[in-house]
Symmetry: C2
Subunit: 312 residues, 2 copies
């Protein structure tokens, strides 16, 4: 049976693993530092892949995950954040030539969604909406059992849907995106703005204030901290309502660090979502849950992508 | 070769046609009044279908289009506007039993999009975004050559994406939907509101004011009329930016009466879209155009749906 090699290129670590069909556990697994500021990134990548090639087994292909923007149709990395040596880099073709194998590339959020669909919280669902809420907000969508990629490979950039055209700037430079309300840094930015306007809080006006510290203050009853998460959840509900009206999934899966705060974010999210969904049928048998796969979701998603594209 | 029968149930007319493969022109075509307020709607419908059945040819299936909401998976009409005898009506099953044929149902906007993809402006594209701007705003989306339907059959309700959470009420009762800015009645409502606030215009404060009259005033240089269409176009650009970030199509097709006003709406739409799309690649080789099929788009879409589902 054909083996799949999966690669996940993160900002701090590169991971690789080989998988046999029908087994979620890898045959071999390696993780090394990305060392993005040092030259030789491609050689480190081929090295970590070589380390997981199974002996005496044929490999059917290599699935690759990376932060975007990237082009899944051509295999080009366009501008992965914090990794300048991979800017405008034909990664798919380079790895394909090096190993003599077919390669399949997509971004980390799409692949985490695909992994949850195949192996995690979304198993058994054909229409899956995955959202990661972390330093940014990212999306991965499966429709009728197919990964949504789009013409340029830029579909499901769900952190960048416009929830208020007059809203605050997103790190991408445009106004009123979901990411500008509900990501960790957006929650911190809101708190810093309110502190600057004189709102009382146990939190200090420190540019390094994190969403985690704000969550701790909220758990101690700090009103500003509680309000900051409520606001993030309210806009998340507005954004997800638009996504339900667009995609009509049977499950919404939340991943990423910020989603782990639980009720602090999701109480107001649920109130907002119910207030905003324009027809009750969208919510009939809709599952709303958290991601089941941990750090290796990217690897499992890269593997699932290769299997999907190879028809395995 | 198998023939397909297509049916389009509109508010004023029911149409039916039979098609042989590879021919856009129908073998037979019939149009009758819907007469929604009179009983016997189902009998009129079976009658118009019988009138187009081809003699001596086998029929492979019946495709059916109707205003939503409806359930394409079960074939139920839920609550078609202005047609109470078809509320919660198992139309697919009823027609299937009556004719001994497989039936396939979807809503008019989805089917108009599917028709443009198969036979009209979207031919040759795999990822199509169709928007009809008329009394309402509706959407139809084709992704990787498949019609987007969703878990409950309620995907692509693109008139109901939220473009401003504090915006005016949509006829559906919820705030800030695209339809509440860019439909014909929304344009008229905006003008009436401005007239009520004392804005000068050649237009009169008349509850029956239509988007067509406003377009005529705009062509005569009326500033309020011009501004009303500019505003509709600006919000349309905001909504379509969110749709590009969600679906990443290679073509956007505009249908419906309001879209026929041309530059009056689309000049501000293009400015707004360019201002709102967060990555220039979405616009690379993106085609933005108007629908090619006329009144029979619904029939051709119903036919295309049946062919798609039957694998023809």
């Amino acid at each position: 049976m054909p083996t799949i090699v999966a690669v996940d290129i993160g900002g701090t670590h590169m991971r690789a693993a080989s998988y046999s069909p029908d087994d979620v556990k890898p045959i071999k697994y390696q993780r090394i530092r990305t060392l993005a500021s040092e030259p030789g990134g491609f050689e480190r990548l081929t090295g970590v892949i070589e380390a997981v090639l199974p002996l005496g087994e044929s490999v059917a292909g290599i699935g690759i995950g990376s932060p975007g923007p990237l082009d899944p149709h051509t295999g080009y990395l366009l501008a992965p954040p914090n990794n300048p040596q991979f800017h405008n880099f034909p990664l798919g073709e380079k790895l394909s030539n090096h190993f003599g194998l077919q390669t399949f590339l997509d971004n980390d959020a799409n692949l985490a969604g695909l992994a949850e669909y195949r192996f995690g919280a979304g198993k058994g669902h054909s229409n899956v909406l995955y959202l990661t809420i972390s330093t940014g907000v990212g999306g991965g969508v499966i429709l009728a059992d197919k990964l949504l990629q789009g013409h340029h490979g830029l579909a499901a950039e769900l952190g960048h849907i416009i929830v208020d055209p007059n809203g605050p700037l997103c790190p991408c430079g445009f106004a009123g995106h979901l990411e500008a309300y509900s990501s960790g840094p957006a929650i911190a930015k809101y708190v810093l703005g309110e502190l600057g306007s004189g709102t009382k809080s146990v939190l200090k006006r420190d540019v390094n204030l994190s969403a985690k510290e704000i969550a701790e203050a909220a758990h101690q009853g700090d009103e500003l901290a509680i309000k900051a998460y409520q606001r993030a959840g309210e806009y998340l509900g507005i954004g997800v309502a638009t996504m339900l009206h667009s995609f009509d999934p049977s499950i919404v899966i939340f991943g990423g660090g910020v989603s782990q705060v639980g009720n602090l974010l999701f109480d107001s999210f649920h109130v907002s979502l119910k207030k905003r969904v324009f027809h009750p049928r969208y919510l009939e048998d809709l599952v709303i849950t958290t991601a089941q796969l941990g750090d290796d979701a990217g690897l499992l998603g890269a593997r699932a992508l290769a299997e999907m594209k190879l028809g395995l």
